[in-house]
Structures are given as C-alpha cells and as structure tokens.
C-alpha cells in the first residue's frame, strides 16, 4: 500500500473515532455530522488517495458553512454547538489535505476541535475508556506516520514499522498516571467569560424559566444534579422522586416565569395538602450543581435542616432560593407529604391566558366535551396530549415568526419535549377555568447502590399542577415512555452494584469535582499528611525492599536462563556433564581429550552403552559444526542421565582403561 493511501486511511479512521461521541451526546445535529462522516468513511475505505478540494471550491464553501452554522441556531444553544458544527464542516472540506505529507495544521486543528467538542459533551464513565483508546490510536498513527515519512525519504534502515504494543501501552499507562494528579490539581477557577455569551451554558436540565424551543446544549447529560435519600422509609415510593425547583404561572409568547404580583383574595402561604394531618416523610437531599434553587418533593411543607453557611429564603409559589455562590454540595432535609402538592392557593394569574388563542379553547372543548367535572376534564386533556402528540428533543424546533409556540405545537408541529406538553396542558386547563401552573424540576433517578438515588440532568422534567376539586394535583401530559423514570437493577445484581459504584465514583470525583473538593482535599492532606507520610514511608520502604528482592531473583533466574544461550547449548552442556562424571570415575584423565577421543574411551569402558555414547557425541557435533537443530530435549536428558548413572555405578578403575591415548 502506498504511504499516501495508508496515511489517508488512518486519518479517516481517526476522524471517525474522534466524532464518535457527537451523535451519542446530541451536541451536533445530523445535517452536520453526515458530510463529515461520509468524507471520513470514504477516506478510510478508498483505494486511491483523494484529491483535496480546489481552492475556489473551498472559498465558495466557506461562506456557505458559516451560513449553515448560523441557521442551525448559532450560539443560541451555547458555544459548544456552533463550534462543533463549524469544525465538522471545515474538517469535511479539509480532511483530504490532512493525509498528505506535511498536511496543513489547520486540518489537524479541526480534528482536534471535533474531538474536544465530543469529549466536552460527554458525561458517561465510558469516556475514560474512549480517551485511552483515542490516545493509543493517536500514538500508533503518529508513530506509523513518522516511520512512513522516514521510509519515503530513504532515511529508514528498513520498511516502515509500527510503534509496538509495549510502546503504546506504556505511554498510555504513564500518561494516565501523570494525568490523575494533574486533574486533581488544575484549579477550578471561575472564568470571567463564564457569564458572557461566550461562557458555557448549563447542560440540559433544570432551568428556572422555561423558554420553549430551547432545551439546552446536551440532550442526555449524565451530570449528577442531586442525591436524595429517605432515611425513615425502607422501601421508598418512586413517586416521591418528583422534585420541584420552581413553579411558573406567567406565560408570554413561549416563555414561562414566576409571577411575583400579589393578587387579592387568592394569595395564601398555607399549603392545603400539607396541613391535612397526613404523615410527613423526610427527604435528605444533597445538591451537587450550582444554582439558585433548592429542590424538594412536590409535597414539601418545610425545610428542616440546611447548612449554617447557606442562606435559604422562601421564594414565590413554594420555592426555596439560595445564593448561587453557595459552596457545593449543599445538604438539607425536607419534610413532605407524599400524597399532596404543596402550593399556595390559586390566584387570578393561574387562570390568565394569552390573547388570540381561540383555537386552544376549541381544542379544549372538543377534548373535554363529555367531562362531568374538572378532574375528568384534566384527565382527558392529559390523556389527549399523551396519546396524540409525539415526543422529540430535536433542537431545531422553532415556531414560525409571529406564532405562539404552544399553538404551533398543538396544531402544526405536534411534536415537542416535556415543556411543550406541560405548557399546552396548562393553557388548555385554563381555557376550561381550571387554575394551573407549570412546575419544573426533576423526575425519577437511579439507585446509587445503597438506599439513595442519584438524580441527573437527564432527569430534568416539566409537569403540571392543577387546582382541581379544592386541592392541587399533579398531571404529567408527557407520553409516559418519554418521562424520566427510575433505573433499577434487573438481574446480575452484583454486577449492577459494582457498576453503580463506578458510576458513583465517576459522578462524585470526576464530573462534579469542584473547587470545594480541591480545598477539602488540601485540608485533608494537611491534617492527615504527617501520618500518611509515615505510612507512605513504610510502604515505600517495603516496596523498595521487595523490588530489590524481585530484581535479585530475576537476575539470578535470568543468569540461569541465559546460561544455555551464552555459555553452551544444552547438548554441549549435557555432554560436558557426562565427561565430567567420567573424569570423576577415573575413565578420562582430564579435559584434554576431544569429544570423539573421549567417546572412544567411554565406549571401551561401557560397551553396552555404545549406542547412547555415539548418539550423544553425534548430536553434539551435528549441532556445533553442521548447524543442525537441537536434539529432542527429553531424549538428551535421558541419555545423559543414564550415562552418568552408569559411570557412577561402574566405578571404573584406572587400570581398566584400554582406550588409545590421546596424541601429545
């Protein structure tokens, strides 16, 4: 294979591998991924080197690429998406040049950007394995390229080589060992750019205000948002894992916010359900992500405990606010009624509707026409939305200019995510005169291997609370299969628990490793440092001792192993041992005889062993002078052993020597 073709194939393979996380995490959309993947696949499979695009075509494509990136949303969904889109399209155009000898650094940089975008949007523990594989492949490819270059230039002493498994494996292991402390030591400072449009947006998850058509940067983020446990409950009900962070009641053209205006007669601080005398449960919650809200079960009556250093203040509509700069994690307890929804009494705001939504009223009436009461009407609306509309997190959802997003969802798009479903239901309920609010927070979670649950960004959800028959009730119009649920172990419980522990470690010490953790680590080291140093000295001393011992044993074993190779072949060694036995028994005078002369004397003394003696000497001569292969080791050992025994048993007297004397 030509070096240029081989280079091209490696670039193609590397490009495909680097882009692997992008479709999985959803940070890039398929229209941008497909051209890149096609070019990379063609490069990997082509039988001839591809010609790079001509300059005029690149110049023509450049503005088209920029326009495509802008049309796909630009920086509206954060910086990661447009960067990945731009890098994908530029790389698709420039990839063929990267495989050329001395290919342009720009192409390599594009590939790096594609890889970085993929890694930045990944939150699964498998990311570590992926990074190690990428590193191994990069080392292999770079080594191969370098070798090909030397070969092409005529400077290589042989055909192009490979770095070898040992080189690659050792580099990866060593790099990982160096990377671990580096990762812990990099200061997690707050960037001044973080609050600008160039700053990173939070991943898809909880947002205090809902703007339809905008779900965030990453579709399936595994970042841990919080942990929750129910210390007094042996078998907690999964329904308890509906945690609200904000309740929104004001809707304006696709955006929900919390109204702060007090309205007459309907404002109240009492939570009707919580005051009903039902048994209260306790939820222990640990918030892991920065924000200004605490999350509590929907039936929470009050917060019972929280850290002294965190100032908690009640917000509107039963929410709890904290300072964004509060050090994480924040641990607190909430008392809640599992059977109730803790919300202030409804106000006029919970019935307000935007103008010109006549079609909503028509839809609501057509759906709830046969309903006898509000509960049935709400249930029918919930069922209608679940059954008649599709779920999608496609980020290109956008209503036409001048059209209300909810109206667009209900009558044209008919596809959306949880916020569309919940928004639509709130507005439909209000058209029927039922007070309703939109609640956002988290639903479900996964067992953490113990008694608690991990709640991730991917568990973010929106639902509806409606005031029906005098109490607030929860309705969730999102199709049931698309609602975040509870992940449970199914079979192979041990494996599952082990994996959960890995994930737990990953979530706690990698994904959510923060400045507070660094400070804590330093404090811990300062406190335990001296004692640890003493223990470490003992361990290091023991390790050095063991290493020295192992090195000594290995050296000795190596000397033994090398002896046949460097000193003598096995056949020569066995022959020498026989001759030595003969000398000790007096058959041979000393080491002055050649093997053939010695054999003559041995044959004279041991006539019944003539065959063995001849075989041994012939094998030795064939091996030494005729470059023959070694004789069978088992026979060699057996013959030599038999001769040694015979010589020892014979006890030959010196006067019985009848063999001819050696010359000289």
């Amino acid at each position: 294979m030509k070096p240029s073709l081989e280079r091209q194939r490696w670039v193609g393979v590397l490009a495909l591998l680097l882009a692997l996380p992008l479709p999985v995490t959803g940070v890039s959309t398929w229209p941008f991924l497909i051209p890149y993947a096609v070019v990379a696949a063609v490069m990997a499979a082509a039988r001839r080197p591809l010609r790079p695009a001509p300059a005029w075509l690149e110049n023509l494509l450049a503005p088209a690429i920029v326009v495509a990136v802008v049309l796909a949303g630009g920086a509206r969904f954060g910086i990661l998406r447009p960067v990945s889109h731009l890098a994908l399209l530029l790389a698709a155009v420039r990839l063929p040049t990267a495989s050329r000898r001395g290919g342009t650094p720009l192409s390599s940089l594009m590939l790096v950007l594609v890889g970085v975008a993929g890694v930045a949007s990944s939150t699964h523990p498998i990311l570590v394995l992926y990074l190690l594989v990428v590193m191994a492949l990069v080392i292999t490819v770079v080594g191969r390229w370098s070798s090909l270059g030397a070969w092409e230039a005529g400077a290589s002493a042989g055909p192009a080589g490979w770095p070898g498994v040992r080189v690659v494996a050792t580099t990866v292991v060593l790099a990982s060992l160096v990377a671990a402390p580096l990762f812990a030591l990099f200061p997690r400072l707050r960037s001044p750019l973080a609050s600008t449009p160039l700053g990173g947006r939070p991943v898809s998850g909880f947002r205090e205000s809902v703007t339809l058509s905008n779900i965030g940067d990453i579709r399936q983020s595994r970042r841990v948002a919080l942990r929750i446990g129910f210390p007094e409950a042996r078998d907690p009900d999964p329904r308890w894992l509906r945690l609200t962070g904000a309740t929104l009641n004001h809707y304006r053209r696709g955006t929900w916010v919390t109204g702060t205006r007090t309205e007459d007669g309907l404002e109240g601080a009492v939570t009707p359900a919580a005051s009903g005398g039902a048994e209260l449960r306790i939820a222990e919650i640990s918030l892991e992500v920065p924000g200004e809200r605490l999350f509590v079960p929907v039936g929470s009556a009050r917060l019972s405990e929280w850290p002294d250093r965190v100032r908690v203040r009640p917000g509107p509509l039963g929410s709890w606010r904290i300072s964004r700069s509060a050090p994480l994690p924040i641990r607190y307890q909430a008392e809640f009624n599992p059977e109730a929804v803790a919300q202030p009494l409804p106000t006029h705001s919970d019935l307000s509707l935007p103008e010109n939504l006549e079609r909503l009223e028509e839809l609501a009436h057509s759906v709830t026409g046969e309903a006898h009461d509000d509960l049935m009407a709400a249930t029918l609306l919930e069922y209608h939305l679940q059954d008649s509309y599709g779920y999608t997190t496609a980020l290109t959802l956008d209503s036409p200019f001048g059209m209300d997003p909810v109206e667009w969802f209900l009558f044209e798009g008919r596809r959306g995510h949880c916020e569309f479903f919940a928004s639509a239901m709130v507005l439909l309920l209000r058209t029927r005169g039922i007070p309703a609010r939109l609640q956002v927070g988290y639903l479900g979670g996964e067992h953490d291997g113990g008694d608690g649950f991990l709640v991730r960004d991917a568990n973010a959800h929106a639902w509806v609370v409606a005031f029906v028959d005098g109490v607030w009730r929860v309705f969730d119009p999102t199709p049931a299969v698309e609602q975040p649920g509870i992940t449970q172990a199914e079979g192979l419980r041990g494996l599952w628990t082990g994996w959960m522990r890995v994930e737990q470690f990953w979530d706690r010490w990698i994904l959510t490793f923060s400045l507070a953790d660094q400070v804590g680590l330093i404090r811990w080291l300062a406190e335990k440092g001296p004692r640890l140093a003493g223990r470490a000295a003992i361990w290091v001393g023991a390790a050095v001792l063991l290493s020295a011992l192992a090195a000594g044993i290995r050296k000795r074993a190596g000397r033994r192993r090398r002896r046949p190779r460097h000193a003598a072949e096995a056949v020569a060694r066995e022959l020498e041992s026989v001759l030595e036995a003969a000398r000790r028994s007096g058959v041979l005078p000393g080491p002055s005889l050649t093997p053939r002369q010695a054999a003559d004397r041995l044959r004279a003394c041991l006539p019944d062993e003539e065959e063995k003696i001849s075989w041994l000497v012939t094998a030795h001569e064939r091996r030494r002078y005729a470059a023959a292969g070694p004789p069978p080791a088992s026979r060699l050992r057996a013959v030599a052993k038999a001769l040694r025994i015979r010589l020892k048993e014979a006890g030959v007297e010196p006067d019985r020597r009848t063999a001819p004397k050696s010359p000289g």
Binding site: A120, S147, A150, A175, A179, A180, G199
Partner: protein, 316 residues
C-alpha cells in the same frame, strides 16, 4: 508540536471557561502524554548504545557508508524511530524498531568534507517517539579515527617527474610484462599474480611473499608534489593546495588502476614506484596526511625538481 500547543491552549481556555471536568480530564491526559513521551524517549536514549565503523575506504567529499551497531539494552521497551546521524556531517539513518535486548545493524551514508586523519565524530541519536513533541538527542562519542583520502577529481592531468619524466596518455598500458628486475619483496595481497610468489621466502617466513618487479621498458615514474607554498597564511593558496593534492591523488589512482607503476615524492619523502593495493594505500595515506609548508621548509630532492612537478606558483 504547533498543533499540540494550540490544541492544549484551546483546551485550557475551554476548560476554564466552562468548568467542564471532561475538558479538564482531556487536558490532563494531553499533558500526561506530553510528560510520558519525554520520559519514555529519555528512557529509550538512556538504554541505547551505538558503535560506528567505517566500511571501505573513505575519500573526501564522496559518499561513504558507516556501519552502525545499535544496541537496545532496555528490558521492556523497544526503541522506535531512532534517528542516527554523525555530528557535523550530512546524512542520517532511521532505525524503525530495535526490540528490547536486541541489536540492529544500520548503514549510515555520510560525507567527510576534508582529507586527513580525524577522530571519528560522535554519533547523535535522536528520538521523537512515542509522540513527536520534542526531539530528544544524545551524543555518543566514538573511539578510533578515520583516515580520509583526498578528494577524487575526474579532470586531473598526469605529469611524470623524476627519471622517466615523460607524459603519458590515459588508458594506455605502458610497460606491462614480466621478467624485470626485482624491486622489492612484500606480503601477498589479493589480486597479485601467483607467478610472482617468492617461494623460498614464503617457506622461510611461513607466509606468502611476492616479488615486485620493475618493468624494463617502464622507467621509474613518480608523481612529484611540492608542498612548499609561497605563503602559508593565504586561504586561497591553501585551497588551491588541496586541489593540487586531490589532483595528484586522482592521477595516482587512475594510473594504478590501469596497472601502471607509480611512485610518489612529497617534499623529502619518497615512495618507490609500485603497483597493487598496498601501493595505492601507501600513496593515498601519504597524500591524505600531507600538510602545506612554508618556503624552504621541506624541499624536493634535486632529482625531482625539474619538470612534471605539481607545484603551486603565485600568479604574477
């Protein structure tokens, strides 16, 4: 390296800006790979030994092949992509892979620019792998010396000096034949005629001795080089002297290759006319080591001061 630096800076900015721990992880791994590459290439260099030997004869400004023996004494790591070059000399060779505990034989093409006997230059071993961030190198001193013969030139004109001072024509064999006066006895070399073996001396000395005869039709012919320069501090004169030495050397080689008997006179030193490999080496060695001297320092013998002398004269 440029791409790596730009990539790491971009990565650091992105990690700081977003606080994304996946980016911090990637950054740590990138820097870890950087450190690992340096450590491993240093390990590789620390376990490499190299010895250089000159293969064949070495002429100035002509390609020469050096035999390099590269030994990797590491027990675990193979040495990959090791570039070997002579310090201060052109040419390089890359050893694709030297497994742990093994030896690789390489041929390094290079060129020595000046004639003379020089210490063998150190061999530079360079390693870029496993990742080519930096070139790590080490110089390995080499024992021994290398004798570089004068440069060969194709347009050298032959001039006889001494008793048989007449010009000859290139390619024309003059004075071949046997039965001339025995000029000297010497050890047998490959290519000598077996009929010239002196059997008595061979038996006496227990080694093959051959007779070198002077062709009766072939007068004693010498190439005469006057190494006296009008001024020794003139660079141009010294350069021209080098050209003169090259010319004498090339003429001697050509005539000896044709089987002519050639002697050499350099200043007061005289190499009697002769043929064969020993004569070639003797003349080339003398010419490789000849130095220019000032006026009157090393005059030619009177018998050779007439025509046919290779001598530098100052232009009027």
């Amino acid at each position: 390296m440029g791409v790596f630096t730009a990539g790491v800076l971009t990565l650091a900015m992105a990690a700081l800006n977003t606080g994304n721990n996946a980016l911090y992880l990637l950054l740590a791994l990138a820097l870890g790979a950087f450190v690992a590459s340096g450590v491993l290439s240093r390990h590789t260099l620390g376990h490499l030994e190299v010895t250089a030997r000159v293969r064949g004869e070495t002429f100035a400004a002509a390609p020469v092949r050096l035999q390099l023996t590269l030994t990797n004494s590491s027990r675990w790591l193979p040495a990959f992509g090791v570039t070997c070059r002579l310090q201060g000399a052109p040419g390089q060779v890359v050893a694709p892979l030297v497994p742990p505990g093994r030896v690789a034989e390489l041929v390094l093409p290079t060129v020595f620019r000046r004639r003379g006997e020089h210490p063998l230059p150190p061999v530079c071993l360079e390693v870029r792998m496993p990742l080519p961030f930096f070139i790590k190198s080490v110089r390995v001193s080499q024992p021994g010396r290398v004798l570089v013969y004068p440069r060969r030139v194709s347009s050298a004109a032959g001039r006889w000096g001494g008793r048989g001072d007449r010009q000859w024509e290139d390619g024309k064999r003059i004075g071949s034949g046997r039965g001339g006066e025995v000029e000297l006895l010497r050890e047998f070399h490959s290519g000598d005629d077996r009929r010239d073996i002196h059997w008595k001396q061979t038996a006496r000395q227990q080694r093959l001795i051959v007779m070198e005869r002077r062709d009766p039709r072939d007068p004693a012919r010498f190439l005469v080089l006057d190494r006296q320069l009008p001024r020794r501090d003139d660079i141009q004169l010294l350069d021209r002297f080098e050209d003169l030495v090259s010319e004498v050397s090339s003429v001697a080689l050509r005539r000896l290759a044709h089987g002519d008997s050639v002697g050499l006179v350099v200043g007061g030193a005289v190499i009697p006319p002769g043929r064969g490999g020993v004569q070639v080496r003797s003349i080339l060695r003398t010419l490789a080591l000849v130095e220019a001297v000032g006026p009157g320092a090393d005059p030619l013998p009177q018998a050779f001061v007439r025509e046919g002398v290779y001598r530098l004269v100052e232009s009027p």
